[in-house]
């Protein structure tokens, strides 16, 4: 009886050992497979995952911060680019306006063409200057006398039927082109007792033509100041 029991127990134990080792082998295989084939995070426990998540969140925050900083500097650079472009545009406009006033650029616009005839050779430089002054006083922005651009320093001489403007001899008839409001210029020249009357009194004639578009084509080179320099 005890022998059979012992034998039975032996059989049982062998079976148990077999089952246990089989389970062990199974578990080893399963664990190795799960650890190597699945993604690395699936086998981790909760707090490790939380740590990893925190790290990733920190990293994402840092990167977001970096993005914001870079966007800021991008905007700054863009703004400064805009500002310098605007400043350049403004400077360009200013320089063009100055160039027209100084006579270094040709100009176009509404204005008048004044034609002076002097058959009696009675017009003096002063009379011609009066015409120009009258036009300027009426708001002419660019004036051309014959082939000479009239500016602040233009000189007029005239006697005996020829005029010398800025050193250039011009024969009559004199043609003066002025850009400005045509009506105002016409009125100013033909004002009673004004330059028109003076010219007629000297034996000449003056004719004003109002035009939509006149061209001041003559330019002059800008004299370089010899003594004066900007002071501030």
């Amino acid at each position: 009886m005890s022998e059979t029991r012992k034998l039975q127990w032996r059989r049982w134990s062998v079976a148990l050992i077999a089952v246990l080792t089989l389970l062990l082998g199974f578990a080893i295989a399963v664990q190795v497979r799960a650890h190597s084939s699945g993604d690395a995070l699936s086998g981790l426990r909760e707090e490790d995952l939380i740590g990893i998540l925190d790290n990733q969140n920190d990293r994402a925050d840092r990167l977001r911060q970096q993005i914001a900083d870079l966007n800021d500097s991008l905007n700054k650079l863009r703004n400064s680019g805009d500002r310098s472009a605007a400043a350049r545009r403004q400077l360009l406009q200013q320089s063009r306006a100055l160039a027209i006033l100084l006579g270094t650029l040709p100009a176009v616009g509404p204005g008048v063409i004044v034609t002076l005839t002097d058959p009696a050779a009675g017009l003096t430089g002063e009379d011609l200057l009066d015409v120009v002054e009258e036009l300027r006083g009426a708001g002419a922005e660019a004036i051309q006398f014959g082939t000479v651009r009239v500016t602040t320093s233009t000189s007029f001489e005239g006697n005996g039927g020829t005029a010398t403007v800025d050193g250039t001899e011009l024969p009559p008839p004199y043609r003066v082109v002025a850009i400005g409001d045509p009506k105002t210029l016409d009125t100013a020249v033909n004002i009673p007792g004004g330059v028109a009357a003076t010219v007629r009194a000297a034996g000449g004639n003056l004719n004003v033509q109002e035009l939509h578009k006149v061209h001041v084509t003559a330019t002059r080179t800008l004299p370089r100041p010899k003594y004066a320099e900007p002071s501030h």
């Binding site: 050992i17 089952v19 246990l20 199974f26 295989a29 399963v30």
Partner: protein
């Protein structure tokens, strides 16, 4: 013993063939249980080589090893020190496995 070796190989083969997925609740315990079972197996191997192998002792130590290891990890998880405790369990069992392996080595190689 031959039966045990064959069963181990069959188990590995089954695991490779069936490709089961480890259920989520078992994930933290399975590696620890495997290490604990390995400890029991090495202990059994050593006892067999020493000529004092007892099937009952092997079965009981195997089951209790696995159970205690799983329990320790479970408790550690509940206390919030799960990863540290599983490390501790692995270290202790690793030392035991090393000791058993050394004894087996002495038997097999006489050195």
């Amino acid at each position: 013993m031959i039966v045990a070796g064959i069963a181990l190989l069959v188990g590995i083969a089954l695991g490779l063939v069936l490709r089961p997925t480890v259920p989520g609740w078992l994930e933290p315990y399975l590696p620890i249980a495997v290490v604990a079972a390995l400890d029991a197996v090495f202990g059994g191997l050593r006892a067999w080589l020493d000529g004092i192998f007892d099937a009952k002792v092997f079965v009981v130590s195997f089951v209790s090893n696995v159970t205690v290891a799983a329990l320790i990890v479970f408790l550690g998880d509940k206390l919030g020190v799960g990863s540290q405790l599983s490390t501790a369990v692995v270290v202790v069992l690793g030392i035991r496995i090393f000791g058993n392996a050394a004894a087996i080595r002495r038997h097999v190689f006489r050195a």
